[in-house]
Symmetry: D2
Subunit: 269 residues, 4 copies
């Protein structure tokens, strides 16, 4: 009944890495390459985990690498974007949104909080407080029995990260798996799950391009877990059907007056 593998696309804006030597030093082939490799290499530890088939896509490709055909064959889309959210075409955004609502999983990373895709699915501004100050982040596991937390300890640390602080303008998550503590004094709901339509969405906070976050083993474990968690269980196309009654109805139509008083019985059309 279920496929024997999970088809994953790691999408990356892929601009910082080409424009900034500091970022390129950490991610010479792009953030997406490191994430894709990590997904391929991280052994699954969840019950029912399936092998991954991981590809990538970037902003500069035709249709941003997210053609109708490619999105149709994708089980889980991982999204990293930062400074070019506005360059993502609305038609691709609608395609991704529709597919998530049909069942595709979506893992949104870090500055992807401001991506069109995430904001469209959330319906909110998705704004937050922020600061780039090379500070320590400690990520607490609030739901240790959530599949996304499998294999983690009670917390893990990232020595240098951008700070994101509350209030994060998101709908109430279905589950809040992680909450971050920042050296500079803030907190943040760093791992949030939602279902929208038939798709599962996970937002994961860490991943500023100037830090080696996606080389971190705990971060890679979270991403591998999240992809397994977000993989679709069913795919259902949207419809809004007129349906016949399942029980016998009274058989007369009615006509109403201004005040809502029943005037008689006959055809309304």
């Amino acid at each position: 009944m279920f496929a024997s593998k999970i088809s994953v696309i790691v999408w990356n804006e892929y601009l910082h890495e080409r424009e900034d030597a500091g970022v390129r030093a950490i991610y010479p082939d792009g953030l997406h390459a490191v994430i894709a490799d990590a997904l391929r290499a991280t052994p699954a530890i969840q019950r029912g985990a399936l092998p991954l088939e991981v590809g990538t896509a970037t902003l500069d490709q035709p249709e941003h690498g997210l053609s109708e055909e490619r999105v149709a064959g994708c089980d889980v889309l991982v999204w990293w974007g930062h400074k070019a959210h506005h360059q993502v075409s609305d038609s691709v955004v609608e395609r991704v949104q529709r597919r998530v609502l049909e069942g595709m999983g979506l893992v949104v990373l870090h500055s992807g909080h401001f991506s069109k895709v995430f904001r469209r699915l959330m319906g909110t501004n998705c704004s937050l407080k922020w600061r780039e100050a090379d500070e320590r982040e400690r990520i607490w596991v609030v739901e240790p029995s959530h599949p996304i937390a499998a294999g983690l300890g009670e917390y893990f640390e990232l020595p240098y990260e951008e700070m994101y602080g509350e209030r994060f303008d998101i709908p109430p998550p279905d589950s809040t798996v992680f909450i971050s503590w920042f050296e500079g004094g803030e907190v943040f709901r760093s791992g949030c799950c939602w279902q929208r339509g038939h798709g599962r969405i996970f937002y994961f906070r860490p991943g500023h391009e100037a830090y080696p976050t996606y080389h971190d083993a705990n971060v890679q474990r979270v991403l591998a877990n999240a992809v397994q968690w977000a993989a679709p269980r069913v795919t259902i196309a949207d419809r809004c059907p007129m349906v016949a009654p399942l029980e016998t109805l009274s058989d007369k139509h009615r006509v109403f007056s201004k005040a809502g008083v029943l005037q008689g019985q006959g055809d309304i059309e």
Copy 2:
């Protein structure tokens, strides 16, 4: 601290009433006129209820009657639309969405489930099953202590309504106040609450234009309650500020290599 009244706009597409004699017989001055009158006339029974100041707006007005100024002064917007959702301009939709996220209440009625405003705030398709067959709807109060249910019995009935059936493609409601039973065999989550940003949203199912639903005393009670519930407690404009640390940070910046190994300490830019 709080205003002494709640400013309400009842928005109506106002097409059926002008095009269809059957609908006009029930709502000669438009659905919005009946709803607005009902809001004015229904005595508030909730703790802390405030007097309402009720206006209306329609699709055919400039900016659909929802100018920047008017929306800025609105506390709760009530929305009825059906066959012209696509005629509502995107700029007005964005204005309403932004204002809801700042704190304005939104009460979406019946076929408004497919309005741009509601779908943008939900992020989902908002589709459902439906049937126009003049059938009986019994609306069960699932949360009798919710402010929107104040003054209602355990259920109330509408003798003739359009059927809406599950699955209703919405995000999980924060509260499900009503569930409907239909003569033809379906069920529906008929009264659903969400918070988005700082605004409260209530979806209320009944209200097909061919029936005198908005003349019904229980329906009017629900609308009056919903407006009081949805009225803003605060209004907060969206921002995504860079902020200074609240605690002393370690004072060195760091430089990273490809593999994420710390290379030294210095300036990254």
Copy 3:
């Protein structure tokens, strides 16, 4: 990392079947025997499903068949009780509650809504409306992508069931998978999921002893799905530890006056 099977105990009060010929005609060896056989025979269709090892336990056994050892080895407990809830010893109830909070799954059936175990885990009265009138129940699938709904259509019917009607006094479910329509005019949240501690709890409404509900293929499918869904992902014993700080604290203790003004620094004990 995960076990290769799921160990299930089907617990039954087992009184009606021995006291009432009508019930015995439907369940000659007890409800639990039919449920256990169904779990053994229903092929798993969910991703990651594991084989089941199914046993049973009844009220009249020592410790109701739920000794410390047996509960410790149980992954998912299925619970059917009706007229002898008060005969279940508090120590067994506490054992089951503790184990659920550690991670064991719990599937509560029908009149088990009033069991001590369910009420203790919910914290509410779990009361509802009811009627035994051999009426038709139509169970609508509200979350078709939930694992418990795998393999079901948009709804299924039970020709004769006891009616349970809202308001059902439960905490807001994490997911409401099913909503029932009853011939007599009521609705009910018939499939509800909660997480408590590290354990997953599913309440499933159908199953009055006077009807052959547990012989129904759709009901058996739900039970098989629910057991897979509720199986633990981790097991974590409860603790409330004192912990050392992870960051360096200011090193002075303080002494306070009546009004909360700091008086000096020194030892408080």
Copy 4:
């Protein structure tokens, strides 16, 4: 329809203050006296706020000061306990639980997380990490439009508090209003709301007896807001009624065989 005031009881274990000079220096007449005075003195700033009538009760009184009559007349109960949870009689715990489910508000403070009352209503262990090290707590307002956050800034600080750290073993809150940052490196969901039955429950973390927390103006503001928020909107006694059908049922009873096959029509029982 609504009462003109809110009747509040501040319940305190009242042991530390009598046994420990350091605590007595801060709370000479007991924590409850300071909290009660603060509730009386803090002006309400929420829409629809009502005047408070505030009394107190302590463990050493007959029935712990919570007789049937007194609880019946109470709108909101505030609970502080720490080292004598086991001394609270089960009958009083059941009385309080029943009354909360009927509609009474409950505000549980700090070490009250381990009170019988709170654990019974939550159904979980309510355990956490902790440390007494005089450290700074910064309480972030995650839901600034929640009534309990009225009048607060984006955060407030307590210079010295006991640390409570995640994972806090509670059911998923309906709303998480506050999240704390601790100097020593932990985070905690410090302001959590639940509805149970018809009653509203608020857990507020701060308030270790060795610190002047309840003298703090922000803490007093939270308590005053919480009492207004938790005040009942309705009071509904629990019942589980047999009800007559609202629709005409098919009029035949049925008899079933072992395999669930309908054998004929007639009387069951």
